[in-house]
Symmetry: C2
Subunit: 126 residues, 2 copies
């Protein structure tokens, strides 16, 4: 039986039929940082960018790993990623908040475990 | 038959048995930015952070979406994400380069499509 060391949990969220996608990167940043705080994460730093002619991208480093968001206003769609190395993060609270802010009509969530082969016997870092 | 609008492709890469994990965030940033360039991506901005007592996190906004990286030196492991909205990005080139730099003994790659229901008939953004 294979053993794994679980490094974290990664939620891939695809929002569609969104009727309130921000066009201002600062507005989107506030939404994502608030979502991170609601999940219980600790925000470390972030970068948000506005593309031409439209579309925003943002990435947030949290103590527990990261969030990332990208908007496709032409498709009324937004993709969100939440990667947490802590099992105490309330990803659902973050996802629900973002869905509400975007007024998303449809939300698809995939949860992936990030892991590597190994066990507690794995030797320490070099 | 369901139709989807493909927003992008997302590679989740878990490297293990790494014997050369950087401890300097600037070194890791150079590796990830180089990887992005090798893949043909356009780097926009990035944030990298060093945690205490160890571990680095970094996120890079690219014109095509983002890369993210986290290190677990205590487990000789690194997780990398490459999300691209362009099908011209050579993710394998980026992954191979990072694996070589980390001297990773094992690499597991998962590819996820990011998509939302819809078709070309989807109405334009609000």
């Amino acid at each position: 039986m294979s053993q794994f060391i679980v490094l974290g949990w990664h939620w891939l969220v695809d929002f569609s039929e969104c009727s309130n996608i921000p066009t201002d990167p600062e507005v989107l940043e506030r939404i994502i940082v608030t979502a991170a705080n609601l999940a219980g994460a600790t925000v470390v730093k972030s970068c948000f960018h506005k593309f031409s002619p439209y579309g925003l991208s943002g990435v947030v480093v949290i103590a527990e790993s990261h969030l990332a968001v990208h908007t496709w206003p032409e498709h009324r769609a937004v993709c969100l990623d939440l990667f947490s190395c802590s099992n105490k993060i309330d990803a659902q609270a973050a996802i629900t908040f973002v869905a509400d802010q975007l007024k998303a009509g449809n939300v698809v969530v995939r949860e992936e475990r990030r892991q590597v082969p190994g066990s507690n016997g794995l030797r320490d870092a070099d």
